[in-house]
């Protein structure tokens, strides 16, 4: 893992001191809320329905046990004993007091954490593949590049006041586990004739105008990547709309001028930027990469004993192949049946930290699907890990099944939401609680957003649910056919919306249609794509 140098630490410490002063001035009445709001948002502090909410950055979703324990400590000491892991691989605390915020950030800084780039119209926390460094299919470890982008983007003077927020994802596998093409910039690291570079996709996103990022450049050499991204951002910063926040994202700019024209302008800008010497020297790249060297693998290859059927089920569903023989990737589901997707108590966070320290070379990952990963677990330790997880009520074997639901906080917490998301997720998970039934349905990604901003990624759900306000009453629209993976697609609305119970019934009917029509190993989304909407519509609306 990357470790701060003196410059990193000094920057974060200075930011805490600066924000402490700003908070004191706000409480003393020296600045108004209108003046304070942009300052607090630059430090991840929102005002939500019930209290202030603090969003803490977890760069590319990677953290160690010391940091994870700090997250538990913050939940225990300053919040209500739990945290909410988000679809941006971050964590949110829902019950923060303004007067505590500087102390929280000061404590976070002691473990190299902060809340910078979790809000505002800047380049947000870089996201990545939660299996980075462990996946058998990656061409290189994307984390050094994500870290390089973090350093480049943090406090970037030119890009701190963009027309709108800007999200970048980096992957290095053909399997997309980070919804890469639904970001403002998606990078897929690839090799061409042995040389490392990146496919660059620009202009994707969800929200009220979902778009899949077109490929702007099929191969940018690694040596040129930072300059190329600088050029991409410069063109956006110059021409992105600032008069209408709903049309200010880069996807709108590219949609309006066209990918070809945007590509041309970026190429022109790149020719200039490349002369500025932005790309880091090899020594700096090597310095960063050294932090992500593979751990000291020492376990012989051995298959775990599958005699315990519950353990075997968890192995089959939540444990994924590792590039190193003798090791496996463990997915910890934060989606207990009837629970709140992404929530974990401080005690559970501590358990996961302990397991990482003991069994996963001290490393954890947060996934955009609101789960946790232990990336380096020896197969011989899997049973012990599972037992500890089961003890902590963290052993649900439902990864990628219908109950592994992404859900935004919705109207239960969020001031932007129009409808509640969590109760719908709970009802669907409970309806499909039977594991045999879930496994029979196979991979089925269900995603729920409580408003059009789409924090719950409903556009990318095989089944998506969007909560809307219909004359003061919660109403839920269903979409089918979305995907955030390498088969990326935007879901389509199937028809009129439903009330809370009605949408659960509709989802169940859709699964029955799928079961009746599926062929071979088809997933729900495959069957939908083959047969189209009509059979589903007929069953749901009769």
């Amino acid at each position: 893992m990357y470790k701060y140098d003196n410059y990193d630490q000094a920057m974060v410490d200075a930011r805490v001191a600066e924000f402490r002063d700003q908070i004191n001035r706000r409480i003393a009445g020296e600045i108004t809320e209108d003046q304070f709001k942009p300052l607090r948002l630059m430090n991840g502090l929102y005002l939500q329905l019930h209290a202030y909410m603090l969003r803490v950055a977890i760069p590319y979703g990677t953290l160690d046990s010391r940091q994870m324990r700090m997250l538990a400590h913050i939940a225990r000491k300053y919040d209500r004993d739990y945290g909410h892991f988000t679809t941006r691989q971050n964590i949110q605390y829902n019950w923060i007091k303004l007067e505590d915020c500087a102390d929280i950030l000061e404590e976070l800084a002691t473990v190299e954490m902060h809340a910078i780039q979790t809000s505002g119209n800047c380049i947000r926390n870089i996201s990545s593949d939660q299996y980075a460094g462990a996946a058998a299919d990656e061409v290189t470890d994307p984390r050094p590049w994500a870290e390089l982008l973090r350093q480049w983007s943090t406090f970037h003077p030119e890009f701190s006041y963009l027309p709108r927020k800007f999200k970048i994802a980096v992957i290095a596998s053909s399997e997309d586990r980070a919804a890469m093409r639904l970001h403002d910039i998606g990078l897929e690291l690839v090799r061409k004739d042995g040389e490392l570079g990146a496919r660059v996709f620009v202009g994707g996103g969800m929200g009220r105008t979902p778009m899949i990022a077109p490929e702007i450049n099929p191969f940018v050499k690694a040596d040129d990547l930072l300059s190329y991204l600088e050029a991409c951002l410069r063109v956006y910063n110059r021409y992105g709309r600032r008069d209408n926040m709903y049309k200010a994202r880069i996807k709108i700019l590219i949609h309006e001028i066209g990918a070809d024209e945007y590509r041309r302008q970026v190429a022109e800008e790149f020719a200039h930027v490349k002369t500025l010497g932005i790309d880091p020297p090899l020594a700096e790249l090597e310095r960063i990469s050294a932090f992500f060297a593979p751990p000291a693998y020492n376990a012989a290859d051995a298959e775990p004993d599958r005699n315990d059927p519950d353990f075997a089920l968890w192995l089959d569903q939540n444990v994924k192949p590792h590039k190193q023989a003798g090791y496996a990737i463990v997915n910890i589901s934060l989606k207990p049946i009837g629970g709140i997707p992404g929530d974990a108590t401080s005690a559970q966070i501590d358990v996961m930290a302990d397991l990482a320290e003991k069994y996963s070379f001290d490393e954890l990952r947060v996934t955009h699907a609101q789960n946790i990963v232990l990336p380096y677990v020896a197969k011989r330790d899997l049973y012990a890990v599972w037992q500890a997880l089961r003890e902590a009520e963290l052993a649900d074997a439902n990864l990628d099944l219908i109950s592994d639901i992404i859900a935004c906080p919705g109207l239960d917490y969020c001031s932007l939401a129009n409808a509640r998301s969590i109760p719908v997720a709970q009802k669907i998970a409970t309806r499909f609680a039977d594991m045999d039934r879930q496994r029979d349905l196979g991979e089925l990604k269900l995603k729920i957003s409580g408003c059009i901003n789409a924090c719950g990624h409903h556009h990318a759900g095989h089944i998506g649910i969007l909560g809307v306000d219909k004359k003061g009453v919660e109403n839920y629209q269903l979409t089918f056919g979305g995907s955030g993976a390498e088969d990326v697609s935007i879901g389509k609305i199937i028809g009129p919306g439903f009330d809370e119970d009605g949408v659960v019934d509709a989802v169940e009917k859709a699964t029955e249609v799928y079961k009746a029509l599926r062929k071979g190993d088809e997933r729900f989304v495959d069957t939908y794509r083959r047969v189209g909407l009509e059979p589903f519509k007929e069953a749901i609306y009769g």
Binding site: L47, H50, I340, D412, R420, V473
Partner: protein
Amino acid sequence: MKLLTGNDLVSGAVTWWTGNGWSIHVEDAADVGEHGEAILHAEEGARRVNAPYIIDAVPTENGPRPAHIKDRIRALGPTVRTDLTLKPADPTAGDWII
């Protein structure tokens, strides 16, 4: 009826204008009638409330009930964590929201 609500500047807690101060209990909220804007500006200026706004509500036997579900959730707490609401011991409290 009209209610004035906002969040406490320091704690962030949801608060309701009672006629002569602020309460975290919506039952204490007073009808501000046509005076909402004036009270809002005075209280915001005095830093006694953050992000205040005026809402519609319906008077009931148990006090005012905000017209919109969003404000009822603000008044009581998240429907999915009854233990964190203002009435954690009352399992039926959530019915008031819906």
